[in-house]
């Protein structure tokens, strides 16, 4: 067994420099080239090692083998320099064997990995395409948001001008019609007086419609809050107010306690006022009027309801119920603009819910909503 030190000894071989006849320029070219190659390989293999450690590349085993192979290659070149003067050819051969093993291993390891590498490259391409598509969608969404904000602003300006411009002529119509009645009423025929009263009432009605429309649009502009709202408390408050408007009416309110939802308190108040005012109004002719507010469990969702035992409506017209200005009862029996339920629907929809109703003529109506 040759000892390590004897491996390094000359052992009768000639230094490699003899092959170059110790030609100065030739020797130094070989030396400098081998040195640079060796240095480069060393640096590359160190980089690969650091990369694998830091980034956790896929196929890190293969990269490490590759790194080892490069390091070994570098070492062979340093050995070339060494054997120029010291003919330790057995050491050189040993290093070459190591290099050979590393290269062959890398090559063998690489073949089966080709498929995986190609698939990975494909996935990267797909993911890049998706990113581009996502960016495109995002910019389209941004553009849409900007245009929607512009529409909202136009709507605000429109409401602002309606606020001013529609009311003034109505005021004139009512004002001067009343003036005619006040100043010349006694000189007019009863028919004339009646006709002028119709003008006045029409102007009043239009004023209510304008107010209703403005409120409807005001309620659905702007940001919607998302906070806990105690519906039971709201309903109790509204019930008290309604009772105060007509203390002589006997209406029993049955309100389920502690029904709390998430939403905008201002909007939900408006929706409940509309629903309860309707219930109050349409039980106006009912003895023992009863208005209930509560919650039903139905298929995982909570459904809230306002129920009354008033005059009800015919279900065959129920699709018109929530239309703007739609009415199912004559004005003279039950006054109103027909905009209350449209308002309720818009509010509930803004909260992501649905509203619907069931009723029987003369037996009352129940309005359901989800939030």
């Amino acid at each position: 067994m040759k000892s390590l030190t004897s491996l390094f000894s000359a052992s009768g071989f000639m230094p490699h420099g003899h092959c170059y006849l110790w030609n100065g320029p030739l020797v130094w070219t070989m030396v400098s080239s081998d040195f640079l190659i060796g240095l480069a390989y060393a640096s590359i293999s160190i980089c690969l090692y650091l990369l694998v450690r830091r980034i956790k590349l896929p196929f890190s085993g293969m990269f490490l083998a590759f790194g080892l192979f490069i390091a070994a290659c570098g070492l062979t070149h340093f050995m070339e320099i060494y054997t120029l003067w010291i003919p330790a050819y057995w050491v050189s051969a040993f290093v070459k064997i190591v290099t050979a093993v590393a290269s062959v291993m890398t090559a063998i390891w690489l073949f089966p990995l080709m498929k995986r590498i190609m698939r990975l490259a494909c996935e990267v391409k797909v993911s890049d395409e998706r990113r581009v598509m996502l960016e495109d969608l995002t910019s389209k969404l941004r553009a849409k948001t900007v245009s929607l904000e512009a529409v909202n602003q136009e709507l605000e300006a429109f409401c602002h001008s309606v606020s001013h411009d529609l009311r003034a002529p109505l005021r004139s119509m009512m004002g001067f019609s009343n003036s005619v009645l006040d100043d010349f009423g006694d000189k007019l025929e009863p028919q004339a007086r009646a006709d002028i009263n119709r003008v006045i009432n029409a102007a009043k009605k239009m004023g209510d419609l304008v107010d209703g429309l403005l409120n409807l649009s005001k309620l659905t502009r702007g940001d919607i809050l998302n906070v806990p709202v105690n519906l039971s408390q709201l309903v109790s408050g509204i019930a008290t107010d309604l009772q105060a408007t007509a203390p002589q009416r006997q209406v029993s309110f049955v309100i389920e306690d502690d029904l709390i939802v998430r939403g905008d308190p201002h909007l939900l108040q408006a929706a409940l006022v509309n629903l309860l005012t309707n219930a109050w109004k349409f039980t106006g002719k009912t003895e023992n009027a009863r208005i209930e507010f509560g919650k039903k469990d139905e298929d995982k969702a909570f459904v809230y309801f306002v129920k009354d035992n008033g005059v009800g409506f015919d279900m065959q017209f129920s699709n018109k119920l929530f239309g703007t200005f739609q009415r199912l009862h004559p004005e003279r029996e039950f006054p109103g603009t027909g905009i209350g339920l449209a308002t309720v629907q818009r509010i509930i929809k803004r909260h992501g819910g649905e509203v619907w109703a069931h009723a029987r003529v003369s037996e009352g109506a129940t309005f359901y909503f989800t939030i």
Binding site: S163, A168, R171, N178, S179, G207
Partner: protein
């Protein structure tokens, strides 16, 4: 005793007529001067232009101010009234169709004494004017 004067700053001739009739119904012992745009309102109050000969000490007891005025906007008129030491304490009652909160906020922030939305209903309109007139002419102490 100096006669009580009310200044009506209003561009709409129908509203002007209805306001004057309502004031007459209130039977106030006051004359009403009417100006029909923002520039004329400031000329009147600062005694310049066509109103250069007006006595600057002869200020109205209060003014009705509409917001939508030609030439100079109602809010701008209000701003200038409050900026001028001669008129800084003049009671200004904003009397307008607009119920928009941004108008209400702006009016108060520029120093309006009160903000009244012109009712469409005639009875309410007349009542509002009579009450405003009575308050500023009878109850409120003159400066």
């Amino acid at each position: 005793m100096r006669e009580n004067k009310i200044l009506l700053i209003e561009d709409n001739s129908d509203d002007e007529e209805l306001t004057l009739r309502a004031l007459k119904k209130g039977q106030f012992s006051a004359t009403v001067d009417v100006v029909r745009d923002g520039a004329e309102a400031l000329d009147y109050l600062f005694c310049r232009g066509t109103y250069a000969k007006r006595n600057s000490k002869d200020l109205p007891r209060f003014a009705f101010l509409d917001l939508k005025l030609p030439k100079i906007d109602g809010l701008e008129v209000l701003k200038q009234i409050r900026a001028n030491p001669a008129t800084i304490y003049l009671p200004v009652v904003v009397f307008t169709s607009s119920q928009e909160s941004r108008d209400i906020n702006a009016a108060y922030s520029y120093g309006a004494n009160s903000y009244i939305v012109k009712p469409v209903d005639t009875t309410q309109f007349t009542d509002a004017i009579k009450q405003v007139g009575q308050y500023w002419l009878t109850f409120n102490e003159k400066l």
